[in-house]
Amino acid sequence: MNKLALIRSAAFMSLACFFQLAAQAQSNQLQVLVKFVHTANGKPIVLQDSAYQNAFGEAYQLTRLKYYISNLGLLGKQPAQAAPSVYLINAAQEDSIELKLKAGIYDSLAFTLGVDSIYNCSGAQDGALDPLNGMFWSWNSGYVFFKMEGYSAASTADLQRIEHHVGGYLGAHKASARVAIHLEKPLLIKEHSGPVIEVTLDLDKYWKGKNDLTIASNALIMAPGPLAIKSAENFAGMFSVRVVE
């Protein structure tokens, strides 16, 4: 490393530190980690590897499970604070979200499964919403909010596929779901507490929730519409929350 580069990186680091300190002093925000885990039949979901069975006795395997989380926040007596970002959660990897919060007592966790309509109709996005993530429909603009793919002997589709591409942001086809879950007991967030909140998606409750989604008659959900709504109505019921520490 030459001299100039050294000076430059030192300067950059001091600048970075300065801004970080300034930001902390300004809002005094504390960090909470929200971790997403995925289960079926009481076991962690392992894509491609394990076989599961839904409440209708239909056996299936999964190859993909991805979904968007937005407006994530903890609610309490303090004014609600939601993270402005959109996150793409992928069961193929361990995903967790860092939430920045003010100190206080919180009693529930809330988020939207889906993507706010504005991002569905405002042109090319990046980050989690980059169409490279394979979650944007090219023929009927808008995001796939929830993508689950796999195979089942119960499927009547080609190659016994299961493909649930659930989305839709317009009017009666709006398939995003608001999820709000009460914590078992109020959570005190204070300096150095650093809790981890574990959000569990239980796929058993996706197949059988508010609506029955048998694989035999719902192997493919590929577009916004009544079928996607039927699926989306099961979103809220499949999540549970627990505070780990």
Binding site: S14, A124, Q125, D130, N140
Partner: protein, 346 residues
């Protein structure tokens, strides 16, 4: 004081040459032709139009290496000499000699459109290229591969830097560059426009045809864009692809067989007509409307429920008027033409 020095050093450092040229954007503005409305949507509010972005979009538009077989570019189906429609083809072709199921629409005055494709399924100018790039019977490529191709090309890196400030290549930047080029394709210099601007006059034939146009056609093909951007059922029957048009997007039975009203600008060059190119000439299109409106049915558009009556002479006059919508300064524009030779696979 230390902080100030640090800032200066950092800025000097950042401006150091990365080997991909300089960033000196020349900002452009979408010019609104005389007498035209302002576009309803501002596609260039976040995506500032620059000469460098336009040039990058143009290069992408004519680059067949982006397709799966490296032979199909956007321009294969949107040919400049055909007002950016597929010249003389009912259905356009994709990779591996595949056929699409629709007639490629002319690309012009897109900044005045709110939805794209014959069924309006695409809701923003920037995301439109995702369809043809990835459709198996168009360019047949995965978006990942397109980005990999661009990233491995130094010429592109230089152009992305010139357009966006650094050489990093993302789908968002690519799509925005596409929009800067396609949104610039404005056709507003036909004889009709010159007449409206007092620079030319219609012949008697054309003038009579203009009158027939205003009585019979202008309800949907609204001046000055010659479309009202709506979706309508104009009485065409379901085709062999069972293409229900707008219904496939909205799921509404009432949208069955509704397709986007195309602009009539440059129609002399955009034959054949309708979403599947089923009608080959302008007189035949007029005959279609005359025939359909004699025996209208409930599903047909409300504006087509009363008979269109035109004599043979009046039909000819109408055709003469419609041909005044041809804008050769647009179709022969050096600015929109590729910079080097391009192979059109047709």
């Amino acid at each position: 004081m230390f902080l100030f020095t640090a800032c200066c050093l950092f800025i000097i450092g950042a401006a150091k040459d990365d080997g991909y040229g300089t960033y000196n954007p020349t900002y452009l503005q979408l010019l609104i032709p005389n007498g035209w409305p302002k576009p309803e949507r501002d596609y260039f509010a976040k995506n500032k139009m620059t000469e460098q972005g336009f040039q990058l979009g143009k290069k992408l538009f004519y680059d067949s290496r982006l397709s799966k077989d490296r032979e199909v570019s956007c321009a294969s189906c949107h040919q400049p000499f055909g007002a950016f429609a597929t010249f003389d083809h009912d259905l356009s072709h994709g990779v591996g000699n595949s056929f699409t199921t629709r007639n490629a629409p002319a690309l012009m005055n897109l900044a005045w459109m709110n939805a794209f494709h014959w069924d309006g399924g695409v809701n923003h100018l920037e995301v439109q290229p995702l369809g043809p790039l990835t459709a198996h019977n168009e360019m047949g490529q995965s978006l990942d591969s397109v980005i990999i191709i661009l990233k491995s090309d130094t010429a592109y890196k230089r152009m992305f830097k010139a357009a966006f400030g650094d050489a990093s290549i993302s789908s968002q930047r690519m799509l925005r560059a596409f929009a800067q080029f396609t949104g610039s394709l404005v056709s507003a210099n036909s004889k009709y426009d010159r007449v409206m601007n007092g620079q030319d006059t219609f012949s008697n034939f054309e003038q009579n045809g203009y009158r027939h146009f205003k009585v019979n056609c202008s309800g949907c093909h609204k001046e000055p864009l010659f479309t009202d951007n709506s979706f309508r059922n104009n009485g065409i029957a379901l085709n062999r692809f069972k293409d229900a048009g707008r219904q496939q997007i909205t799921g509404l039975a009432s949208d069955s067989l509704k397709f986007k009203v195309p602009s009539l600008r440059n129609l002399q060059l955009t034959y054949p007509y309708m979403h599947d190119g089923r009608i080959f000439s302008v007189p035949q299109v007029i005959d279609h409307y005359i025939a359909k409106t004699q025996t209208p049915y409930a599903g047909m558009d409300s504006l087509l429920q009363k008979p269109i009556l035109l004599t043979k002479l009046q039909k000819n006059e109408l055709v003469y008027f419609l041909y005044t919508l041809t804008d050769t300064s647009f179709t022969k524009s050096k600015r929109f033409d590729p910079d080097g030779p391009v192979y059109f696979k047709h």
